[in-house]
Amino acid sequence: MIVVIVRILIASVGGQGGLTLARTIAEAAVVSGLSARTGETLGMAQRYGSVVSYVQVGTEVYTPKFLPGEADYLVGLELVEALRNIHYLKESGVALVADEYRPPFTMSSERPQSTRAEILDALKSSTSRLLVVPARRLAVEAGSARALNMVMLGALNAASKLFKHSVVEEAIKRALPPRAVEASIKAYYSGFKYAESLLEPSK
């Protein structure tokens, strides 16, 4: 019997760690006794191109990808890529987006240039369920700009409450190289706290 608990679309620029984020979620699913399936586009697109990872967690999951309108969460590691994939969210879906602006060459070279504010406005006009995370700042504070993906893992877990902290810590240890574990765990908690404070302001 197929039971998909959650569908997550991760949108990133190749090299930002979108694939590692997908892998960490899959590890966390298995650590907590669930099943996971992801679909990746590896290879050419990995290098600074648009990268999308489909992640599904459940008790039994079959397909490596899902359709526009089916995602519970959109995790955007970059604003333009988040906007490119916003239609993957279902109506009640939540967008968690890093405040990271890396326009592709065509946007950067044209005049007038698109701006960060325009992309943010387009995202806001698409959905009210949008959380923008100062992920680069939090990652640098945690020890490495490369840990931006783990900040967003924290935001995702604050919004979804999918995994216990101990499960995520174990998943990070399994999915990341040993030298990156400490900063990654710090970044995770920092993203979690930031998102939690905005999601539940009463606490």
């Binding site: 019997m1 197929i2 620029v13 997908a22 892998r23 899959a26 590890e27 699913a29 298995v30 099943s35 996971a36 399936r37 992801t38 679909g39 990746e40 586009t41 590896l42 290879g43 050419m44 697109a45 990995q46 290098r47 600074y48 191109g49 079959y62 397909t63 490596p64 990808k65 359709l67 526009p68 309108g69 089916e70 333009v80 890529e81 906007l83 490119r84 916003i86 239609h87 993957y88 969210l89 279902k90 109506e91 879906g93 602006y101 890396r102 326009p103 592709p104 060459f105 065509t106 950067s108 070279s109 240039q113 701006t115 960060r116 387009a122 698409s126 700009a145 490369r146 399994r174 999915a175």
Partner: protein, 609 residues
Amino acid sequence: MSLLGPPGTKLPLLGNEAIARGVLEAGIYVVTGYPGTPSSEVIMTLQEYARELDMYVEWAVNERVALEVAIGAAISGARAMATMKAPGLNVASDPLLSAAYSGVDGGLVVYVADDPGPHTTQTEQDSRWYAKLAKLPMISPSTPQEAKDYVKVAVELSEALQLPVILRTTTRVSHAVGDVVFGGIQRPKKGGVFKKAPERFVRAGMDWNLARHKWLNAQLARVEEVAERYGLNRVYGEGELCIVSEGAAFNYIYEAVVERGLGAKLVKLGLLYPLPRRFLLENLKGCKRVLVFEELDPYIEEGLKTILYDAGLHVEVLGKSTGHVPLEGELDKGVALRALGLEPPPQSLKAHSVPRRPPPLCPGCPHRFTFLALKRAISRRGYKLSEVPVIGDIGCYALGVYQPIDMLWTEHSMGASISMAMGLKLAGFDKPVVAVIGDSTFYHAGLQSLIEAVNKRVDVLVVIMDNEVVAMTGHQSTPAWRTSETGRELKPVSLDELVKAIGPSELRVVDSYNLDELERAFTELLDKPGVKVVVSRHPCALLEARLKGVKVRFKVEEEKCTGCRACLLATGCPAIYMEGGKAHIILEDCNGCGLCARFCPQKAIVVAG
């Protein structure tokens, strides 16, 4: 992640990593192949364990050589595997067809990964036809778990039938992560016994060939029966509607049927060649209509129609020929729902049209220097860029097709740059022609093209863009390396000496980062007669950064930047972007080549910190 866990271990694995574990469970000793997305991770994963487990796991110079090495091992009783992407099987098809006649003793698995979409391949090749063409059994998994399990099945089938077995996946199986439960590991099975039997192994004897063809057909007639105990073909559910599917496509149609609660009988095939005739007839005999849901060509659809016709069954077959399933592109659950006459889930958020982000050359990429030098040399010789074709090849430098580099005119097949450039010239093209090819592609298939061009005395400028690694597929070794990924000591085969031995009229070797010298070489050689070779050599910037770290990085001094975009328009470097009328450099992405600084009229780009 360790691949060596005990039986029962459950880990999320990429399909290709699962296949790597399957190799250990199947006791395969020789694993070789040529890198190609989406197949490369099998060897990359296994190389970590090769020494510890006493296995041979090495990249070969090309797929044909890889398969021949694997065949040689298997006819002496070793268990062997050759891995490749779909076009690689075209390269390896010559030995593949002969191996079907000779047969093997140790299990031989040919792993090929197709790419519906396509995501990273030049064609949407359907390699299932190769099984039919070569007359070799083919099996196809749907999930990472099956991908692992089927390696052992392939080895056992191969040994039971004495035939190479093709294990075929697609991108959504080889590059899907799913949880996989381990079985037990077997000790790698070496060979070393080879008895002379020319009637079996010499394809020069025509009577022998005829006899082996009869033998091959007799073996093929046994495949369904021999494979039966592995349960490769399965039936799910009951209902009026009958569906036949396989591979990644099965996942989509299965989820569609279950999610919508349809009463349908789903027939999943794991054995693709020969199609399991008895199984299909037994399970489809009560059906009035059968939907065949498969990716790429109507392979099962056509085979099934023949089987039904021969059995005198009048069953309506729906699929690609009836327009229910598209002939191009990858399938998904939405296509599955529509094939079933249902609507996909509603899409409540509007899609935004956002400019594409094609993969550019990386920050610091030496190929960027080579292309810019070539551009300037062409202009300096008085030609327009639109007059001088740059005939490309397969590798990272093919990304030079995109703006603002915009230099590549063709990219076809491994090694084709030099030979296609030669064809242009001998057909009467009167402007200079340039061929660009990477080091690994040159070793793979460019060598023969260069021999042809030199031998026939054509006029062409050949640029070998040598970054000392197979970069695009994830940094694999080339024949120029001294030590392989597994720590094996190698005898490096010098690219320069190879080229010299072929005898081009000119040979220059230049450091790619030396833009002025490169430009000088290209300017001098562009329209000289004969085959002129320039080796533009500099290590891949991405690999260098990973291995040695980045010593200097650059930043923009904002007060000096006028926002003219010269840095971006010249280089297209993905570490640079414009915001608020100023250029910005993403510091951690900068690999410190400094090319952008050369183009800044304000000298606003300086070494950071």
